[in-house]
Symmetry: C2
Subunit: 593 residues, 2 copies
């Protein structure tokens, strides 16, 4: 009876070596590293490097930053994650939602294109990295649980719409800026007259090509004799072909003279390592957006990591992931990058390409480093519209409107949460959107538990089991009312229970005993204990006893510490069946409802 | 099975006449009004009027307002409450905590003593009144439930300490201002040298007299021949004697010349009725403090109302109380008063004096009106230190430090909530204090439910009942693991459940079936449903079936709307007993843990 309830904790025995391996997961996989794994990792790294170059440039553009910062953010962070991360295949770097959040936060501090803007973005990576490290050390990984799936899906869907619209301006060659859907559409509408025909034609061509590449390229390559796996890989490299093609076209036809925006000069060479600007005013301005970007980035990264780990029977550790993402962002901050996190599409490519350990990430970082040394001059002619097109096509896979239908169909409160998140993100911007989503889901949860379902129950014939009198044919006794409270009793529903019981007993005649069936009562807090004492007192005044049944161990431990059991007019029974057997009047026939 | 679960709602049948009576509860008691009730109400009104005069003056002083505003706030609001309120004996007017909150909020907008300060306090009553009315019409009465008892006790205790200290300056005749305990003590310490000996001596005399009057006056009067009930009444009028005594002493010895602060000139006559200043900037500055004062005032008032109603088998309706308090505050706002609510001490006096209907409040309002017409000149000589002393003595009854011990003893999370509230109120001020309390209790509740207690259960011999294997001697079967999840499954604990189950089954051998005992699962939201689908899939891959037992009606309704039941590898059983009977292997002997 008084045994420790160790079963309430996830069972884990921790030895010293496991502890070290947990702090530095790299030790774990480095131990068994061999030639075969090396070959797999190298191949994956080559593929990922090719994929990452256009992606990194595009997300730098989305964040309103110079193209080279996208490359910088794709080097050291990968190395840092390889040392500290627990996922074998997660690929860390600039991702769509975090880049948009960076643009929103930094855009309210400095104008895009200024030195202050880039400085703030770098500082944001640093602040976010330090926050993630702190959360990891404090073991705050559980916080991710408070973002429900519908809220995350809704947020990412709405962000995808905002991102797509924000890139439409680049395609049309006009200004199209704003943090909300109304701002974006308004800005596009006002500037529609300035549309650049060449940019638009090329942008649309690229979009069509990329959508086709997703479905049509792999079969085509297969027919051309490539093996299916290789064909699939090449098809995923659609953006690379688009970039090479438009870069050549831009060079040949001199798009720059036709008013098409080009990426322009990208500095050759690796980033200089330096501590980001420490300005207390800037850091405090960045604190709230950095916290939001940290939480969103963490949730996104952990869900990708979990999905991939499950496919290979591996596990990831949320608290260690916080440390790894923190280290990656600090690394981004000291190497001139911007906030990074684990991305879905880049991780899937890494996984599909056969990466076996995070060493593949280190090799990819080396590949990107070589690219900044050798390939940057060629990027001069790359049209920005091409990058915008790759972003638009990429984010369409983020948009999951089916979640709305699924939530509507399954439960009203999930639906309210997802709709609130989507509308708030579209109409108020991404920061308020995610806050509104969290508040809505937490608020709905509290509201639901504040008005618990309470069922009058009776015995199912032939069993010792009790069920709702309104749903089952059950046996009841007129001198007893059995109430099953379907919720833990705590401050938010304590007075509801009181009112419910008083109203119920007021219309019952011949009643002698009230039995609360407590199988679903997982907690009784101090407010609820006071309510139970009031109920006990009031029933006693009316000549009724209050009894409890099936009270759980942890709840009973709590009641024993109070004086409630001394005051209780009735008894506490192990099972509801025993309670009814003890309290029913033999001279009154039981009746079946 | 598909019956509506009407038992989940407090049963109530509502007829048209009941509806009208609910909107205007005055219709209800006015119908049976007669001479006997009138006599009781008139007697109570005389006693309450005498009590209310010093209280009203004192709380105006506490709010930093001219004395007459305390009287104004004790007239029309009582009439408004009498019309709309559902409590028969609640007395509405200026109270300690709401007056302090007014001082804090208005003090950050204008300097005490200026016309702007009084204007803001009057506007605050109006804004708060309109908010309460809106909350009442929206039936937001349930919101009060989210303030747990420990948080309310902690908040009122800490406010009592702040109020007591804030009055100490008046007793010593020095400046003692601040919103936090550190600010108040610092201010008192710096000004200690300026202590006025006469004010201090008199203040301390009054405090000693008032404390003695509480316990010693009633027996003394009894010995002098008064009947016990009358003696008790007179003893409660201690503050009135203190005020008369010091007023006479002040007049006789000319305290004003000795540097003692006096109330000074109080305008004769009833307040002019006027709409409060409508200034959008002022109203928006007042919005948050007005919301807090509304919620705190409502919670305080409803808990007093409930306590008194329970003594006479009456009931109060929280939504209607919002409307009544809203009307009272609007009435205060248009008659030059400041925020009011139902007070504990004034209501107890009204109740003890035998008030039977809210008409007693109307008569008391008339009494206060006569006082403003006739008695105000006499108040000129009243020392402020006397009023401060009555406040100090009154708030000592608010301070309930025992709640800390009770919470510590009963549950760690209640303790954390109460300590957070008290410390935040003392150190950060009352507005942040109450917000911190609400956040702490809600956050702790979410945190607790995010890491639910999960027990491995077995059958209690001779019953169909299943209990924790670590607490009871129970029968289990080696091919089955029965898990009782002691919490609703929702987004905050969905991934915890997944991790728990995977870790548990990893160390069990010979396992074939997992049964989730769902008696305590009151809800499965969309995130948890996705987690259950993942668990089902993962177990199936390992050759295990997932089964559910004792799933409640409302939860089952939800599952039927999804595709989960089609994918489920095992079955859903009515009772856990049936599940085990069906799934146990007959060739393996059951064993008792």
């Amino acid at each position: 009876m008084d045994g420790e309830s160790g079963a309430g904790q996830a069972p884990q025995v921790e030895y010293l070596s496991e502890r070290l391996a947990r702090l530095l997961p790299a030790l774990d996989w480095a131990r068994g590293y061999n030639g075969g794994v090396l070959a797999s990792d190298l191949l994956a790294a080559v593929i990922v490097t090719i994929m990452l170059i256009p992606q990194s440039l595009a997300y730098a553009l989305l964040a309103g930053l110079p193209a080279e910062m996208g490359l910088y953010a794709s080097m050291l962070p990968l190395v840092a994650y390889a040392v500290f991360g627990t996922s074998r295949t997660l690929s860390v770097g600039p991702v769509a939602v975090a880049s948009l959040m960076t643009a929103t936060a930094v855009g309210s501090i400095a104008a895009s294109g200024t030195a202050g803007y880039a400085t703030a973005a770098i500082a944001m990576a640093m602040v976010s990295g330090l926050m993630l490290l702190a959360m990891g050390l404090l073991r705050f990984g559980f916080l991710a649980n408070f973002l429900s799936h519908p809220v995350v899906s809704g947020f990412i869907t709405a962000s995808g719409i905002i991102i797509g619209l924000s890139q439409l301006g680049h395609i049309l060659g006009v200004q199209g800026q704003g943090d909300t859907i109304i701002g974006l559409l308004g800005s596009l509408w006002r500037n529609l007259a300035d549309t650049n025909a060449v940019a638009t034609a090329k942008g649309i061509t690229v979009i069509v090509f990329l959508f086709w590449a997703r479905k049509g390229l792999a079969p085509l390559l297969s027919r051309c004799g490539l093996r299916p796996r290789a064909a699939g890989m090449f098809a995923k490299a659609g953006p690379v072909f688009a970039i090479l093609g438009t870069m050549l076209a831009s060079y040949y036809w001199n798009f720059g003279q036709l008013g098409v925006a080009l990426v322009g000069e990208v500095p050759v060479g690796l980033p200089a390592l330096a501590l980001p600007s420490f300005d207390i005013g800037l850091w405090s301005d960045l604190a709230l957006p950095a916290l939001l970007i940290s939480i969103i980035g963490f949730v996104e990264s952990v869900s990708v990591g979990k999905t991939l780990a499950a496919k290979r029977r591996q596990r990831i550790n949320p608290n260690q992931e916080l440390i790894a993402l923190g280290a990656a962002n600090v690394a981004s901050g000291i190497s001139g990058g911007f906030p990074v996190t684990g991305g879905f599409s880049r991780s899937v490519v890494n996984f599909d390409a056969g990466a076996e350990t995070p060493a593949a990430g280190v090799f990819a970082a080396v590949g990107i480093g070589l690219a900044t040394l050798l390939l940057t001059p060629a990027l001069y002619f790359l049209p920005k519209a091409t990058l915008a097109a790759t972003i638009i096509v990429a984010v369409t896979s983020l948009i999951d409107l089916a979640v709305i239908r699924r939530a509507w169909h399954y439960s009203r409160s999930d639906f309210i949460a997802v709709i609130t998140t989507i509308l708030a993100t579209l109409l108020l911007g991404i920061e308020l959107g995610v806050l509104a989503g969290i508040l809505a889901s937490v608020g709905l949860q509290l509201y639901k538990t504040s008005r618990p379902h309470i069922a009058v129950v009776g015995a199912v014939a032939g069993t010792e089991h009790f069920r709702n009198v309104e749903r089952y044919n059950v046996i009841t006794h007129s001198n007893i009312v059995s109430l099953r409270v379907d919720e833990s009793l705590y401050f938010a529903n304590a007075s509801y229970l009181e009112d419910y019981i008083y109203a119920l007993i007021a219309k019952m005649e011949g009643l002698q005993h009230v039995i609360l069936h407590c199988a679903a009562v997982n907690e009784i807090d101090l407010s609820a204990l006071e309510a139970l004492e009031a109920i006990n007192y009031r029933l006693q005044e009316q000549g009724l006893t209050l009894n409890l049944s099936e009270v759980k161990g942890p709840v009973m431990d709590g009641l024993r510490k109070s004086e409630f059991l001394q005051h209780l007019s009735g008894k506490v029974y192990l099972t509801h069946h025993q309670a009814v057997a003890d309290l029913k009047q033999d001279d009154i026939e039981p009746y079946i409802i």
